[in-house]
């Protein structure tokens, strides 16, 4: 077993994160194997050193006073649940889902499944007159908003990935 794997298992043992079977197995290895014992002693020494010698830093004596002076001018913001109504968000989501499902059902309903040619789907969509929607300003505004929201979502996802990869 590589040293890194041994140390990983020993840290789990020291932190109490392994299950009962692994705990007993590692305890036996520490008791019987000199290499395991040596690594165990090194790691427990470090584990004891860190909390013992690492100091909690103290801010200045005026710190609490400075904070209280700063918060004196601040108002507590209302809880987000008070101005973000999840029912409204769920309603908007339900509207879009229902619209998509209704469109799909409508497309299937007007499809001639017995026509026996490959143009069944094309004919079905050709029968739907969507020109009124595509020519309206409402459509372009909605499309614009969706594009912006899509870009914001993509940006958030990439930023999260970048943050995770950096850490």
């Amino acid at each position: 077993m590589k040293q890194e794997e041994i140390e990983m298992e020993l840290w789990e043992y020291i932190d109490g994160l392994c299950n009962k079977a692994d705990h007993e197995r590692i305890a036996t290895l520490i008791a019987t194997d000199a290499m395991w014992l040596q690594h165990y002693n090194e790691l427990t020494a470090l584990h004891a050193l860190i909390p013992k010698e690492l100091e909690i830093e103290q801010p200045s004596m005026r710190f609490t006073k400075n904070v209280m002076e700063a918060v004196a001018a601040v108002k507590i913001a209302p809880a987000t649940k008070k101005y973000i109504n999840h029912t409204v968000i769920k309603g908007i989501a339900a509207f879009f889902i229902i619209t998509i499902v209704a469109s799909v059902i409508y497309a299937f309903a007007i499809t001639d499944w017995h026509s026996g040619n490959n143009d069944a789907y094309t004919n079905a969509f050709a029968k739907m007159d969507l020109s009124a929607f595509f020519n309206s300003n409402f459509f372009y505004v909605t499309l614009g908003i969706n594009v912006v929201l899509g870009l914001l979502l993509t940006d958030t996802l990439f930023r999260r990935k970048l943050r995770n990869s950096r850490s």
Binding site: L46, I50, E55, P59, F63, T64, M68, V74, I76
Partner: protein
């Protein structure tokens, strides 16, 4: 558990308008918040400014603390995001004055710390110095685990990562710390 109940009671008092009650929370957590901020920036003045910002933000958004986690976990999440924002604004490659001082001494002494400095170093000083050599995030992780006594799940909440990721990062941070102590301070450890 008792302290968690006390924190929630104090938070309720503050939300009901007793602003002065907030000073109890500040007194209780200022050292940990300051220490965490200090681990990020290695500069006392900046760390104190950041710590103050953290408490002001925590006060402003106190109504959003739902009590599902410990108040300390929620507070340290604010520390993490505030300090990371600060570091992003300042850019990479920040070297604290303390580190510059050490680097300059080492540079002027042929790559080694002078003997009198070596002899004066206590284990505490060695560990503090070794922590400064750790990559970004590792020192804060060790501080959260050992000093702020946060569990892996809680650290995961604070940093926005899974407990398994935290376990692996903690393992690597300890490994690096051991390596730094062995390589750079082996004489003092003997």
């Amino acid at each position: 558990m008792r302290e968690q109940a006390d924190d929630n009671e104090i938070i309720q008092l503050v939300l009901q308008g007793q602003q002065s009650a907030y000073s109890v929370l500040v007194e209780r957590y200022q050292q940990y918040v300051f220490t965490l901020a200090y681990r990020f920036v290695n500069n006392r003045e900046i760390a104190e400014e950041l710590a103050q910002d953290v408490f002001v933000k925590a006060y402003r958004y106190l109504a959003d603390f739902k009590g599902n986690s410990k108040f300390s976990t929620w507070l340290y999440t604010i520390v993490n995001t505030t300090c990371l924002s600060h570091l992003r604004k300042k850019g990479d490659g920040i070297i604290s004055l303390a580190e510059e001082h050490i680097i300059s001494i080492v540079d002027n002494n042929g790559g080694q710390l002078p003997n009198n400095l070596l002899h004066q170093k206590t284990q505490k000083q060695m560990l503090e110095a070794a922590m400064r050599y750790l990559p970004d995030g590792d020192a804060q992780l060790l501080t959260l685990f050992y000093q702020a006594e946060q569990s892996l799940e809680e650290i995961g909440i604070i940093t926005g990562q899974t407990p398994n990721n935290i376990k692996v990062r903690l393992f690597r941070a300890r490994g690096k710390l051991k390596e730094i102590l062995t390589q750079k301070f082996s004489k003092e450890l003997m």
